[in-house]
């Protein structure tokens, strides 16, 4: 799930700029999750958001490759 939701966005674009993996984009004056599969769950978007609009989840939206399992 990575970024779980964006709720209460004020359109400042801080999250778009701060996402290292280009996961979030703007739709008009609201941020939306454009590329969830590329989220590295680092929380920078949440930390830069000035109004705590972003809720995170620890699950990746695609299977991950590990060295052993």
């Amino acid at each position: 799930m990575t970024i779980k939701s964006i709720s209460g966005c004020i359109g400042c674009e801080e999250c778009v700029k701060s996402c290292p993996c280009d996961v979030i984009r703007m739709d008009g004056n609201k941020a939306y999750i454009a590329h969830a599969a590329d989220c590295q769950i680092c929380h920078l978007c949440r930390m830069y958001c000035p109004v705590d609009a972003i809720e995170m989840a620890p699950e990746k939206s695609i299977p991950v490759i590990l060295p052993w399992g």
Partner: protein
């Protein structure tokens, strides 16, 4: 509270339902070969051309100091970053900054360099190790003046000196090509992810501060680092080193991709400084234990760290055998308290088997900080291409060696090297004219950049990346090495290089970035396999099951990689304690 414009990402179940995936490779939820349904008008993409004296590529710790010092030395300087200044690459997550303070240290700088060299088994370049210690205090003071040690979000202190100097800053621009004309660096080319626009920059000198990279692994925040600078430079003739080393950070088996959660609250800590603390932290030892005994750790909070020894495995000098074990006290976050002093992912020792930390490969594809990247040809971060410099994790300075040694040296080393490269590049720029690049030549670059958007069909970059991960990340390929498996993996990688990379498709600017990143990861994988095959010994973070011993007779040498005249990858030895010729 929701409103109509709020968004929620799909759950995994919904994601699979949307993709129609059912089983096997298709369960990745990614189409492999398919028609390219391009979402933008490629013919309407425009180009913006810039001119500067010194171009700094990368907006992390190295890039910050490179730009500031090049500017202060009198050069017109520009920074371009794939992400945001101070908010991309590994810089935002490093919280420990090594400072050698002669007033508080009990030993001398000579003692420090000697200790690092003993831990690194000679793999470190002592000139760069010493330089780190000598300059660390001055860089820390500048960071303190900018407010770096007063906050948790690095963009704010980073932007201060850049704005004060009016240094032009291009963010969210992906540089994909370096331009070489008449035997020297002439600039770079790339594209914007937010706009349908290519970007060309003519420059007298270029400093790569592009970080290192990995295979977009899970559990370590380097999803945006794909060795871009190294590969761009390799393609124009630069020599590359350090590819056989392995960073060994681990993650949890439950939600292994959750970087933030696995590091507890560390990403939100205020950075701090620390003094001399030299380790020999492998990470590969975890991989060896797992390989020999099966998955050795029971997951979950409170998991007990295995204490029984396993036979064989990587050599650790006796002096360092009990240094740097993770605290594992289960407090302060899922990984337990991060090691004292470091407090940061980049440069930190592997978190190891603290409670819940139980699977390797978090940083798969990355070598030890400062060990991989461009071969330095002098002590001022110069490459073998006139006017091209590198600093930080993009420079294979072997400052710390092929193993984690000094805690907190990653951020500090990037600051120190960035400053030195900035001054050197400004000096170089003062001696040459602005390069002339014909419009036709620039069009060649932009055509190559945009090629994945023009393909009517091709392979999805996400699918190729996951295929590469499946080849490279397994423990028995990347970490516990032997010739037969590496030869097999190399054959797969060559297939991706020759057949799939030329047919990567992109439907929009985001996928265009992924396509170029994927290609860079494929070439880096080839480098890692070839260097690891060549190094017929085990040393530091390079471990071979078929050559388990340190071989001082034959391998007191680094491995340099370069592109041969026929385009094939060539490898050569460079003895420790020498400079290349």
């Amino acid at each position: 509270m929701t409103d109509l414009n709020d968004t929620t990402s799909p759950t995994r179940r919904e994601f699979l339902a949307l993709s129609g995936a059912t089983a096997g490779i298709a369960s990745l939820g990614m189409a492999a070969w398919a028609q390219n349904n391009v979402e933008i008008d490629v013919d309407a993409i425009t180009n913006t051309d810039h001119v500067t004296d010194v171009l700094v590529i990368g907006g992390g710790m190295a890039g910050l100091f490179a730009a500031v010092k090049a500017h202060d030395a009198g050069a017109a300087t520009m920074i371009v970053s794939k992400g945001r200044l101070g908010a991309s690459g590994l810089t935002p997550f490093g919280k420990g900054f090594f400072v050698f303070d002669p007033d508080t240290e009990s030993g001398t700088i000579d003692d420090f360099v000697d200790t690092v060299s003993r831990s690194a088994l000679g793999t470190n370049n002592p000139t760069y190790t010493r330089q780190l210690a000598v300059h660390s205090m001055a860089r820390a003071q500048e960071l303190r003046d900018w407010g770096f040690f007063d906050q948790t979000l690095a963009n704010r202190p980073f932007i201060k000196p850049i704005e004060e100097r009016n240094i032009p800053l291009l963010e969210r621009v992906v540089v994909t090509h370096l331009i070489k004309e008449d035997g020297r660096i002439a600039g770079a080319a790339g594209f914007r992810v937010d706009a349908e626009e290519t970007v060309t920059i003519r420059a007298k000198s270029v400093i790569l501060c592009t970080g290192a990279g990995g295979f977009k692994p899970s559990g370590f925040p380097l999803g945006d680092l794909t060795h871009d600078g190294t590969i761009m430079a390799y393609e124009i003739g630069a020599k590359v080193t350090g590819k056989e080393w392995n960073d060994g950070h681990s993650t949890r088996s439950v939600n292994p991709a959750a970087c933030y959660d696995n590091w507890g609250d560390m990403f939100e800590r205020v950075p701090s400084t620390n003094g001399v603390e030299v380790h020999h932290d492998l990470g590969v030892d975890i991989n060896y234990r797992a390989y020999v005994t099966g998955n050795p750790v029971s997951g979950g909070t409170g998991a007990v760290q295995p204490t029984e020894a396993v036979d064989g495995g990587p050599y650790v000098p006796e002096e360092f055998q009990n240094v740097g074990q993770p605290s594992g006290d289960g407090e302060g976050g899922a990984l337990g308290a991060p090691p004292s002093g470091e407090g940061g992912a980049p440069g930190g020792p592997p978190p190891g088997f603290a409670a819940s930390a139980n699977v390797g490969g978090a940083s798969a594809g990355m070598a030890i900080h400062k060990s991989e990247g461009l071969v330095p040809f002098d002590d001022r971060c110069a490459s073998n291409i006139a006017g091209l410099y590198a600093a930080g994790d993009a420079l294979g300075s072997h400052m710390a060696g092929g193993i984690y040694t000094q805690i907190g040296s990653s951020l500090a080393g990037s600051a120190v090297q960035g400053a030195i490269a900035g001054e050197a590049a400004a000096e170089f720029a003062d001696t040459v004219e602005t390069p002339v690049i014909s419009d036709d030549r620039l069009i060649e670059f932009t055509d190559e950049i945009l090629a994945p958007l023009r393909r009517e069909a091709g392979y999805g970059p996400a699918w190729v990346t996951q295929t590469l991960q499946g080849i490279m990340i397994p423990n028995f390929v990347l970490y516990i090495k032997k010739a037969s498996m590496m030869t097999a993996a190399l054959a797969y990688v060559e297939e991706l290089r020759d057949h799939h990379a030329p047919m990567l498709r992109a439907a929009n600017m985001h996928e265009l970035r992924l396509a170029h990143e994927t290609r860079n990861m494929i070439l880096s994988a080839e480098m890692k396999m070839r260097a690891s095959l060549m190094r017929t010994e085990s040393r530091c973070s390079h471990y071979r099951l078929d050559y388990p011993e340190v071989d001082d007779e034959n391998w007191r040498a680094w491995i340099n990689i370069y592109r041969g005249t026929d385009g094939a990858m060539q490898l050569e030895k460079q003895p420790f304690d020498t400079w290349p010729t």
